[in-house]
Amino acid sequence: MLETKNLTKEFDGFRAVDNLNFSLQKGELRCIIGPNGAGKTTLFNMISGFLKPTYGEIIYNNEKITRLMPHQIAQKGIIRKFQVPNVYNFFTVNDNLKIPCQIKSEGRILLFTHLSVEVGKRIEEILEIIELKEKGKEIAGELSHGEMQWLEIGMTLAMEPSLLLLDEPTAGMTRDETKKTGEIIKNISRSTTIIIIEHDIQFIREISREITVMHNGSILTEGTLEQIENDERVRNIYLGKEK
């Protein structure tokens, strides 16, 4: 489904992503872990079109998307959640969800058509999934950190993405909020391929099958959680004794 061919991004001398060959099958729930500065978010920025790679290609459903604009890539079904919760702070929760729903159900330029019932129903469904049922009227900016993360996940859901990029969905969440996020992502992954960048080992233990470990801009190793845990090299990066 998604494949990168020796993808590289250089920031005046420093190689954030270095000849990365990453591939992902349809329906997978892949986690990417690695210490700070391993190039995870830079990889997401390139896939979603916000950052042009120095060289290398990104292929999605065997179509080159390396040079496309962010909105063109989003229209192809690749939707991302940003590392810092990126929602419409001054809108109510309902309005936040209205924006993505609109694009899905009623085409692009909808000058004088009003919100159809169907979009309203869709918002209710999503509120149910992300468990913000009673918070519909609240202003997004006043939600707790965890609730904002859920709202943003809900918004990406509204786009019915074929590939979902989640950047540290559980950052700043309490224990039970993380657990709840795990469940939400698990039932999303039935219909959508997901890549998650995460640090929380407990969280990864619960939800993931395939894991990719990144370090200094390239893939160190890939495999299931058990393989990763016993891998000496991975232990070192995390405990700082890398060779």
């Binding site: 940003f82 929602v87 001054f90 809108f91 694009i103 004088f112």
Partner: protein, 347 residues
Amino acid sequence: MKKIFRNKFLILVLIFVALPLVLSTYYVNMLSLFLIMGILALSLDLIWGYTGILSFGQGAFFGLGGYVYAITAMNLLCEVQIRHLSHYNVVNHGGTTYISILLAIIFPAVIAMILGYFLFYAKVSGVYFCIITLSLTLIFQQIIMELVEYQIGNIPIGGFNGITYVPRISIGIPFWFYYSLEDPMHFYYFVLFCTTASLVICYAICNSPFGSILTAIRDNEIRTESFGYDVRKYKVMVFTISGALAGLSGLLYCSWGSFISPASFDFFLSAETVIWVLIGGKGTLIGAFVGSFLTQFLENLLSDVLVYYWLLIMGGIFILIVLLFPKGIMGIIYRLRLSIIRSPKKQ
């Protein structure tokens, strides 16, 4: 919510319909000017309040609208005997001015679209956009001042002293009968019609799904772009509409005073428009009118008494508003109303 709002809006319109019956022609004329300037403020509020694009170029579209109207109307309706460069007399043969009105709206809209495409597709935004639009107003002004001896059709553009004897708007059925709105009362009602129409259109735009995307762009452009909306396209569209509105306001102004010159759309007009929208409250549409009415009314009232001091005070008010309540008057009203509704729930 929709119902209550519609009634309030109707009441407001009725008040304005009744006003001229009770006021002297001087005040009716003044009201027409306020409404005309309100449309200009509306054009800025549409892009700044709703989409987050602060443009200093509204003055340029305003002037463009005025000049296009003056030139086309005079060419079509009048016969000009030129005795000396700035001294000519005009014979008005009459006829409806629909074409001039249309052109005076479409021309600035097209220029706005081209300019919008040129700037937004290069991701020019924020401060750079302000400075470029500001310098465009100056460019347009300089070009007009330069064309002293030139003529379009047989109408002298007149450089710095502008074009005079511009015919008033006249309505009716083309080639059959026409009725020129010389009488201030009739002209006022035409202006009121235009104001209500543009407010309704802006309201439709802002409350439609298209409008919610505009506010989404204002609140969080990156998020909106990553949902698949081509942000640049929307910006160009709303900028074109705003150019048309500013053009409408320009043509009404030119027809109101039967005169248009580079001075009528100078640096200071762009500044005033920003002040009106800021004082009235960004992103509330009605706020644009409230701001422009209040400021212009005070200006008229106080300017003969205070003359210079008035601008001193306006500068001061402006600073206070930016520092203390960036939401403006309507913002305060909303906040008051909001806190009344929400306060019981909060305790």
